[in-house]
Subunit: 107 residues, 2 copies
């Protein structure tokens, strides 16, 4: 199912940081706190394969690669923003539920 | 990050099938094609812990358990629906991108 390949944390964050324009790998990495080299590489490759991000090798020395959100990728931003807004708005309620659940099971 | 625990395939599908009312474990399982006992158990436990689904033991013989979407869980349905609608609408474009990508890398 497509959702599994689309709605992961890093994909959502990569699409968010590419919103303002193309970026190189290291610039993306800097903005994604805690992402590993491997996780970001896999994430970008998946985004590229799904047509959500395009990859361009820039003639440079040393050779650099930049990533840009595609028109298809842009159509995914509104649903992602809605989901992100939900997590921000409802985090306190979820936290409360978790604490209640953990206390119930700790007894 | 909350998104990782929320936006997985089975969670989205469980919230969808519970939309019309409470269901027992086996009734949920029947409607989720391909889910294993273990994956559904873990998914329901996560949904319950996050306060999105409530679990009720019904006095019955044999003892049965039913699951119901909570008011908090209902607030997650609109963003999930938007994401699901995106996958349905854009699947052909994503498929086309994948084929192009795979051909590019197979050469």
């Amino acid at each position: 199912m497509l959702i599994d390949q689309i709605a992961d944390k890093w994909s959502m964050m990569v699409l968010a940081v590419l919103d303002s324009g193309p970026l190189r790998f290291n610039a993306i990495k800097k903005q994604l706190e805690g992402v590993t080299q491997k996780a970001l590489t896999q994430c970008l490759r998946r985004l590229e394969r799904n047509g959500l991000v395009s990859r361009e090798v820039i003639a440079d020395s040393p050779v650099a690669v930049q990533y840009e959100i595609t028109p298809l990728g842009r159509t995914l931003q509104p649903p992602f923003r809605a989901l992100y807004a939900w997590t921000i708005a409802k985090m306190p309620e979820v936290e409360q539920a978790r604490q209640a659940f953990d206390q119930r099971w700790a007894r």
